[in-house]
């Protein structure tokens, strides 16, 4: 059966994925603050409470730790919860449940239980929400074995990866950049999955590999188009998943291009770019490097409230263009 492909926004694609999951499996429930009547802090759950009822689309009290605890317990006892945080920043409140419980239970109970839990984290800066509502903390969770951590960058991927996450027997953390919610893209109808742990090559190129995550994929693609006009041919790898990390794809790409630029919104130091850089330095791709590895990440500050400073605190297209040009032209 052919499935039609339409243009949906990123948030519509998430909602559609959740509706499909709710429809297909009665064990699936949604939990989160203001996801019911209000439709979610970013209107992602929308009218799902009307379609599936308050027993399956559950508003939780303003306690991330409590809500996450209930979600972990529900997962352990047979349900498949999809838990929404209003802002990924509030993951800090639920760290005990995420890091010490959800990530550890299968291991510590010798495989007797699993935690088929999905957590959704609206993340990133650019909305003027200031320092406590704009962070990119995916690397925190990416550091914890037992969790899967993904950052879909397109409507197509977020639907397919969310459905893959629901089907996954282990906890999957989805970081959704808030500026992507309104982005539109082709999304097939019906059920499909996009594998967790597999990067995507968004643009083929031979001069430089940019490994980017989430919204930075789009900025990298824009930079690549600009530089194509200068005869610089850039390959853009969308990491999609930071745990597990698709090392093979990155290594193969760098072996092809001999140069690597990592672009991510999280704070540069001790971030995803460090892991990608080290992956290359430790791999056979090392002998293919013709220039230093360069990282573009978030600045070493809280995200500022001032809109101009907020933009300046994370990599923007001109930053990527400049860094890529320097790398390829031999300035660095």
């Amino acid at each position: 059966m052919d499935t039609a492909v339409r243009e949906l926004s990123y948030s519509q694609a998430i909602q559609e994925a959740m509706a499909i999951a709710l429809e297909a499996d009665e064990r699936v429930i949604l939990m989160g603050e203001d996801i019911g009547v209000y439709g979610g802090a970013f209107q992602v759950t929308g009218d799902l409470i009307e379609r599936f009822g308050p027993e399956r689309v559950i508003d939780t009290p303003i306690s991330e730790l409590g809500g996450a605890g209930v979600a972990v317990g529900a997962a352990v006892t047979g349900l498949r919860p999809i838990f929404e945080f209003q802002f990924s920043d509030f993951a800090t409140l639920a760290m005990e449940q995420i890091v010490n419980q959800a990530a550890k239970m299968r291991y510590m109970l010798g495989g007797a239980v699993s935690v088929p839990l999905v957590m959704r984290f609206p993340a990133g800066s650019g909305t003027g929400a200031a320092a406590q509502h704009s962070q990119s903390l995916e690397a925190w969770l990416g550091h914890v074995p037992g969790l899967k951590v993904i950052q879909p960058s397109t409507p197509h991927d977020v639907k397919g990866m969310l459905l893959a996450a629901v089907a996954d027997p282990d906890p999957v953390m989805i970081f959704e950049h808030k500026l992507l919610y309104k982005m539109k893209g082709p999304v097939p109808e019906g059920h499909y999955t996009v594998p967790i742990g597999k990067a995507a090559i968004r643009r083929d190129g031979k001069d430089l590999t940019i490994v980017a995550t989430s919204i930075m994929v789009h900025k990298a693609l824009e930079a690549a188009e600009t530089l194509a006009g200068e005869g610089i041919d850039i390959e853009v790898v969308d990491l999609r998943s930071i745990r597990p990390l698709d090392r093979e794809t990155i290594i193969a790409s760098v072996k092809k291009t001999s140069r690597l630029l990592c672009v991510y919104e999280g704070v540069k130091t001790l971030g995803i770019g460090a892991e990608i850089s080290a992956t290359i330095a430790e791999s056979e791709a090392f002998d293919y490097l013709d220039a230093p590895i360069v990282r573009l990440g978030g600045s070493e500050t809280p995200i500022p409230y001032n809109p101009e400073l907020e933009k300046a605190a994370v990599p923007q297209v001109p930053d990527i263009v400049a860094a890529a040009r320097d790398l390829v032209s031999g300035v660095r």
Partner: protein, 453 residues
């Protein structure tokens, strides 16, 4: 803590050395000062002593392979010292005092860096003659390694001189990467207008054909391929540099030798006995050395070295003498030849030549000098021109003394004549000055008694 044994720097422009033999094996007990191993540098063999007493362990310096200066080649453990300390010792940077002790001779900065990280393999410690590590991307290193190219020989076009992929590719194809020159429409297109105001970078001399291009000229199997040793590489590098960077100028004169030969015969005949042997046996070349030294004393403006900043005017004449040795040549130096008697020069030369052939010269015995003599007379060569060997400004090429017809007072006569050609570095010694030096030289050769007073 175990003491590191490093490959020391024993020669000024030495980047690597080869161990020709070890005199102790792994596990042997050695005393400080024992000769541990012998290294072969570009020009000589040197014996290296143990920096400490103890047991020799972890002998990693292999015989016959190029080892970067400063790289550890073994460790000496104090008696009873646990061998497990090796890991610690390797992991820790040797304190400067220890390094200095172990190094015996002064290490340059690059060698220090290598010594401080002994865990690094030889390839990561590749040094350049000035002691700085070679900057090269990992890709360039791999490509050079695969192509058998020496990174030191490749000019890097990347940031801070880093050798990058395109430089190695260009080196393989036998052409250097040139800085890009913007071509403007206004630039004259033909050679008819040589006065181009656009600054054009000085183009280095045409790169030689690549190895592959040369090999293609010969049928496969029609030749044997003999790898270069370090002496051959040094000769190639130094002479190419000398001939390309020094503006050579040549002056030739004929010298009549009969008086000199007569004096030589008399002096040799009257040589006193020492240990049942004549105390000296002067050669013509010994007298040429003395005559050149005295000529330089008489014409001190020619006893110079060119530097970009200033002329170095030497206070004594140190005469290098090219000695042919198996696989190449070396130029030991007779220091202060003006002040030495002919017999002293003669005996010094015999000693230097013998040790040169045995590769036992010390660096200070062949480095420096203010001029040189190259004599091919023994092969019957009539006349030739030699390449100035910097820091010298002159070199004298000496042909064979042979009976030739000469005109004396309008009459044809026969004399023993030797042609000599002086090559000068024209930056330092102009033609007239070179001619003046040769006239003085000819004077001493043709009136040899003047050398004795």
């Amino acid at each position: 803590m175990p003491v590191e044994v490093i490959l020391p720097k024993v020669d000024m422009d030495m980047a690597t050395g080869r161990i020709s033999s070890w005199f102790f094996e792994e596990g042997a007990t050695v005393a400080q000062g024992d000769v541990l191993f012998e290294i072969e540098t570009d020009k000589a063999a040197m014996e290296i002593e143990a920096p400490a007493s103890g047991v020799l362990r972890n002998v990693t310096g292999k015989v016959g392979v190029d080892i970067p200066v400063g790289a550890p080649v073994a460790w000496i453990y104090a008696a009873g010292e646990a061998e497990a300390d090796a890991a610690t010792a390797v992991a820790q940077a040797t304190p400067p005092a220890e390094t200095a002790k172990a190094a015996a001779s002064a290490l340059d900065a690059g060698a220090q860096a290598c010594a401080a990280s002994p865990a690094a393999g030889p390839s990561s410690c590749t040094g350049s003659p000035d002691g700085a590590a070679v900057r090269a991307s990992p890709l360039a290193r791999r490509l050079a390694r695969e192509a058998g190219l020496d990174l030191l020989s490749i000019q890097g076009s990347g940031p801070r001189g880093r050798v990058v992929e395109k430089d190695v590719v260009a080196a393989k194809q036998g052409s250097a990467v040139q800085p890009e020159v913007p071509v403007t429409a206004a630039q004259p297109a033909t050679a008819a207008a040589p006065a181009i105001s656009t600054p054009v970078p000085v183009t280095p001399l045409a790169a030689p054909a690549s190895d592959d291009q040369i090999k293609r000229l010969f049928a496969a199997g029609s030749y044997e391929e003999i790898p270069h040793d370090s002496m051959r590489m040094t000769i190639a590098r130094r002479l190419t540099e000398a001939k390309q960077t020094i503006p050579h100028f040549y002056v030739t004169v004929d010298c009549e030798l009969d008086a000199l030969l007569k004096l030589r015969a008399e002096l040799n005949a009257d040589a006193p006995e020492k240990d049942g042997q004549p105390a000296y046996k002067l050669s013509v070349n010994d007298m040429v050395i003395k005559a050149l030294a005295l000529a330089l004393k008489a014409v001190p403006d020619a006893n110079v070295s060119w530097t970009e900043g200033a002329m170095l005017k030497h206070k004594q004449a140190d005469v290098g003498v090219a000695v042919s040795i198996p696989g190449g040549l070396i130029t030991p130096i007779v220091r202060g030849a003006c002040g030495k008697t002919l017999s002293e020069i003669s005996n010094a030369m015999k000693d230097l030549a013998a040790r040169a052939k045995a590769k036992k010269l010390k660096p200070e015995e062949y480095q420096g000098g203010t001029t040189a003599v190259s004599n091919l007379g023994m092969f019957g060569v009539k006349d030739f021109a030699a390449i100035v060997n910097p820091p010298h400004a002159t070199i004298l090429a000496v042909g064979a003394g042979e009976p030739r017809p000469v005109v004396k007072a309008g009459q044809l006569a026969i004399a023993t004549v030797m042609s000599v050609t002086l090559s000068t570095d024209h930056r330092a010694v102009d033609g007239a000055l070179g001619a003046e030096l040769l006239r003085a030289f000819k004077g001493y050769i043709e009136k040899p008694m003047t050398m004795l007073v």
